[in-house]
């Protein structure tokens, strides 16, 4: 580990001042489950490390005026244990409860997971499927944008839009109406704990009072640089009466899309395209069960 100056501010404003002062030479540490490894292996050699653990104002999970607001420093463990998240946002509950190991979930934060934008980030895949908003703050001001725009941008580290002096402070999304909307996440990995996702599938579906699909979001984490967007599958579902049969019709499209996107990696594409269909069959069954539409026997 290369020596560095260490700051542990207690307020966001203090952290932003420091980030503005040191710009590119800063690494921000939230839970540290990625950064500490990078420091140890000399993959990150910052001159300054700013620790966010003491900033209590960033650690919250609350519902305000029909909107979930999650502070960037909320840990995976606290999200997995949150009753409102469990009842209303199963996708986030199921994604965060399966991240890494208990130790990693106790340290790792949702903000860190999204800011890191790793290929296999489960929290990230869940938030992208939800099309959550993220709030970024710097001394220059505050901006809120869709997480998809956040990922599409090229900021200081190229992996997302974050500027060098900018901090991701909040994730927010409307509280789903669980009578009409169901969300689900399935993690396919090489073992049942302490594993990186091979595929992290996320799905959100909304139906009207007649059971007709009015909105669908389908994403596959770890299938590409960012959670893969199955837009054509979604389009096939919207306007149809939701059923297992109707959902299964999306799978051939998904198959072709994954095959196309992973042609350069023939050794892994076979399993990715087949495994993804298996993952989504489970998500379909989960969603239909939650909405009380159909019991699917596995």
């Amino acid at each position: 580990m290369k020596p560095f100056d260490f700051y542990a501010p207690t307020t966001v404003d203090e952290a932003l001042e420091l980030m503005h002062k040191y710009q590119d030479s800063v690494s921000v540490i939230a839970g540290g489950t990625d950064l500490v490894l990078e420091l140890n292996e000399y993959k990150a050699t910052p001159a300054v490390v700013i620790d966010l653990k003491k900033i209590k104002e960033l650690n919250y999970i609350r519902v305000e005026d029909g909107v979930f607001r999650i502070g960037a420093m909320a840990t995976h463990a606290s999200l997995a244990a949150d009753q409102a998240v469990k009842e209303k946002v199963r996708i986030l509950h199921d994604a965060t409860r399966q991240v890494g190991s208990p130790q990693i979930r106790n340290l790792g934060t949702i903000g860190g997971n999204i800011a890191q934008s790793s290929v296999a980030g489960d929290g990230l895949a869940a938030c992208v499927t939800l099309n959550a908003d993220v709030t970024l703050r710097s001394v220059r001001g505050t901006r809120t944008m869709s997480i998809n725009d956040f990922l599409a941008g090229e900021g200081a580290q190229k992996r997302n839009i974050l500027a060098a002096d900018e901090l991701l402070t909040e994730i927010s999304f409307p509280v789903p109406d669980t009578k009409h909307t169901a969300t689900a996440f399935y993690k396919l990995a090489k073992r049942k704990s302490l594993a990186i996702s091979v595929i992290g599938g996320g799905m959100v579906v909304t139906v009207d009072d007649n059971g007709v699909c009015t909105h669908a979001s389908m994403r596959g984490g770890a299938l590409g640089r960012y959670p893969m967007h199955f837009a054509d599958c979604e389009a096939l579902l919207v306007g149809k009466k939701l059923s297992y049969a109707a959902m299964l019709e999306t799978l051939p499209i998904m198959h072709d899309q994954i095959l196309e996107a992973n042609r350069s990696r023939p050794w892994s594409v076979f399993y990715k395209k087949e495994g993804a269909q298996g993952v989504f069959k489970k998500l379909f069954a989960d969603i239909l069960g939650q909405l009380g539409i159909e019991e699917v026997q596995e």
């Binding site: 396919l188 049942k192 704990s193 594993a195 399993y271 087949e274 495994g275 269909q277 489970k282 596995e298």
Partner: protein
Amino acid sequence: MKRRGTGVGCMFYGVGNTGLPNPAAAFVQVLPDTSVHVTVGAADIGQGSSTMAASVAAETLGLNYEDIHVVWADTMYAPEGGATSASRQTFITGNAVKNACQTAMGELKRTASEELNVPEEDLVFRKREIYSNKDASVRMTYPELMAAMGKKGRLAVGAGYYNPKTTYLSPVDMSGVPYELYSYATCILEVEVDTDTGEVSLLKAVSAHDVGTPIGIKLVEGQIEGGTAMGTGFVISEKIDVDPKTLAIKNPTLSKYIIETSMDVPVVYPIVVSSEGEAGPFGAKGVGEPALIPSIPATIAAINDAIGSSFTSTPIFPADIVKAWKEQQKTQG
């Protein structure tokens, strides 16, 4: 679709090095306060060979387990113990400890015989007491015996070793006696296979092992449970990935070499089968590798039973399962 399957794996296993001399030794002294120093070369890598050595010494000397202090694998002081491999330490170091204790018993028996006026062959040493097997009221305690030893200026010391009775194998046809002792085991294992994702859930394993006389039944059960985890991991997740060009190992870290977590291992029901009359200390046999071996074919067979595949090698990864299932669906239909 989720499908269940059951598999059976059986094995017999020769304990010790194959067709080679492989001795181990031990030093023992019973001290005046009745505590005992046992020194062995056997490396305890967590399997419990030191616990085993203490148990064998206590049983042989007629003392309690708590009286025995084992110094192990200190190459400055300990005698040769050979490798902790081939499931051999209980059998060979165990016998060495027993032999060393029996030598130390020489002076103890002579002294007790004189003190109690009982022939040496009639003496019983048990749980810190010495008595006559003809009349149990003729008895003395171990501290009394050690006091008598002290008065007479005698010390209870012993060195011993054991080398299994094997022969070199014929270079022409490999005939000969490769092992003195064999362990036997059967494992029955149930899995649930997800044919869509290829995920394998290990549900439960029943693994029965002939260990002769178990020395420390909890240790034997622990070995069986750990071995089953290792064997099942060998089938469903562990692979040494070698670069075909450079021959370098591509996954030399535990983040990429996937061993099971406690969430992955099946519920293991160990069954300890006792048998008698073999060459180990008090009839004990090795269980280190036998614990692992039968769970490997049992897991493969269980997967084959679940999805009708015909895997014969390891590892079997989810991609292999999905592929086998798809091919089979094609040929059926």
